[in-house]
Amino acid sequence: MVALTCENLSRSFWGKLVVDGVSLTLAPGEIYGLVGRNGAGKSTLLKMLAGYLAPSSGRVKICGEVLGPCQTSAHLGCLIEQPAVNPSLSAFQNVMVRALAQGLPNAKEATAEVVRAVGLDPALRDRAGRFSLGMKQRLGLALALVGEPQVLLLDEPFNGLDPEGVCLVRELLVNLAETRQVAVLISSHVLDQLDRMATRYGVIREGRLVCEVTTDQVAAECTDYLCVETPDAPRALAVLQQRWPAVAFTVMPDDAIRVGARGASETAPAVAGMEAPTAEEVGRVLLEANVSVSGLYTHSRDIEEYFVALMGGTAPVREEGKEGREGGGGNA
């Protein structure tokens, strides 16, 4: 059974479309990283999935149960935007309230278990109003985890956590996905953490889910490649293609030549069964052909750079007067 499905989910505020026809599916045990720039519509999408906000159109299904607008499911655990913490109650009491509302038969044991799992047991009896941001975040996670939900919706779960907390939460989520087949949807800007746990990514841009990629695709896109800078790019390209006909060479917009890696939009491997040449080999061949080389280096493309490109580059987050949908490419 599919853990979470949403079909053509849209939401507009005052006539402005904030989430535009998003459809996505999460299988049990999948960790789905939702990435996008500030204001892209991630939190709005999560709120609609959680039943905190009514969609303008579209449908949400959790573990086979179709949810009406502003309806939530017993299978859902959520941490969206800020942890929902009652400052006058202790950590234990906060979680206990949710456990009682869920009608758990062993509410006290279930509460103690999740509070321990998020590392809050030393502050079990302390009032939540005195908690630091990180401790509140842990409490928010405990609230999301109590009752063994089948689907977790987490918005910036690493926010405010110390390195130990980040590690603990990451391992906890991976463990839940692997052992209990919990489907986890995480919206986060902390890409290196997502990289360590996500099995699939969705990129949301101006309210639209513009692409979905697997971790294998991301890994392939983020491999290192050799880059040659030369004032005579066409000639250098001809020389290199003649010497290594089976290797892909791509002239970049700045006239640098990219060696042995796929182009920005390609998805198939560029070099089938053939090793890309080393920097020494490329340099030697170009020198022998009297092509001057101004730069020869290995370019590392990290996951951040990759997703920044997918999210729409580094242009201003909201351009004045731009209602544009032109950047979206539709759901992949």
Binding site: C78, L89, M96, V97, A101, Q102
Partner: protein, 252 residues
């Protein structure tokens, strides 16, 4: 609904502020009865119902408890903690119904406890009352509890309507309602209406509004049976408004 009620009752009973409020009311019932016994207030008092009416601890509870509950449920929106008790598809409706039951139950419980404190202390101070006024007292306590519940649910509707600072709106609304400021203001405004509308409006306000009924009860001590229906309808209206707005309200 019962699960949400249990969760709400749990957090009410674990709230320090709640116990401070109840302790304050209990202290007033106790100390006030000492004062009552020593002064002219107690002259000619033959029934407990009359003693309780003159003591006014239940009226004080009727004024303060709605303010408390307006804060209690308003802060659920302010702190986003309403999310924690919405656990299934019927969550929002269950939340409102559980709130109404909790408010009424807690108000009755507190009023009964205050009455017991008052009765025990008056007995300790040498007052004995016949059982004649028991039914009158029970009616009076019931009417005040229903009025307080109606005030609390109207104030809760205000918290749900408010887009921001729900708790503040709830407290302000409940305070204006229970302090009869709004009632007095409306009566003054009615005075400026052209005749015969001024008289009709004033009569409507004093007869049918919660404050009007509470004021009559305070003055005469006589409970009209239809007041229960009237206050219950106002409480029901509060529940309906809460349910309708919460049905589609964004939980920020």
């Amino acid at each position: 609904m019962l699960r949400v009620l249990r969760a709400d009752a749990y957090r009410l009973l674990h709230s320090r502020l709640w116990w401070i409020l109840v302790a304050g009311l209990a202290l007033y019932a106790f100390e006030g009865s000492n004062y009552f016994a020593s002064g002219w207030y107690s002259e000619g008092v033959a029934t407990f119902a009359e003693a309780a009416r003159r003591h006014e601890v239940l009226e004080l509870a009727m004024a303060l408890l709605p303010i408390w509950f307006a804060w209690f449920f308003g802060s659920d929106l302010t702190n986003r903690t309403m999310r924690n008790v919405l656990v299934d598809a019927k969550g929002r409706r269950s939340y409102v119904l559980a709130a109404a039951v909790l408010v009424f139950g807690a108000i009755v419980a507190v009023m009964v406890a205050l009455s017991v404190i008052l009765a025990l202390n008056l007995f300790r101070l040498g007052f004995t009352f016949s059982s004649e006024g028991a039914a009158t007292f029970a009616q009076r306590l019931g009417a005040l509890a229903v009025f307080a519940t109606a005030y609390a649910l109207v104030a809760m509707a205000l918290t749900v309507i408010a887009s921001k600072n729900a708790a503040t709106w709830g407290i302000a609304g409940a305070a204006l309602l229970t302090s009869t400021v709004l009632f007095s203001f409306a009566r003054v405004a009615a005075f400026y209406l052209p005749a015969p509308l001024d008289r009709i409006a004033d009569e409507m306000l004093t007869t049918y509004s919660l404050s009007g009924m509470a004021s009559t009860l305070e003055g005469t001590g006589v409970v009209q049976p239809w007041w229960f229906v009237q206050a219950a309808l106002i409480a029901l209206l509060g529940v309906l408004v809460c349910s309708l707005i919460l049905r589609r309200k964004e939980l920020r």
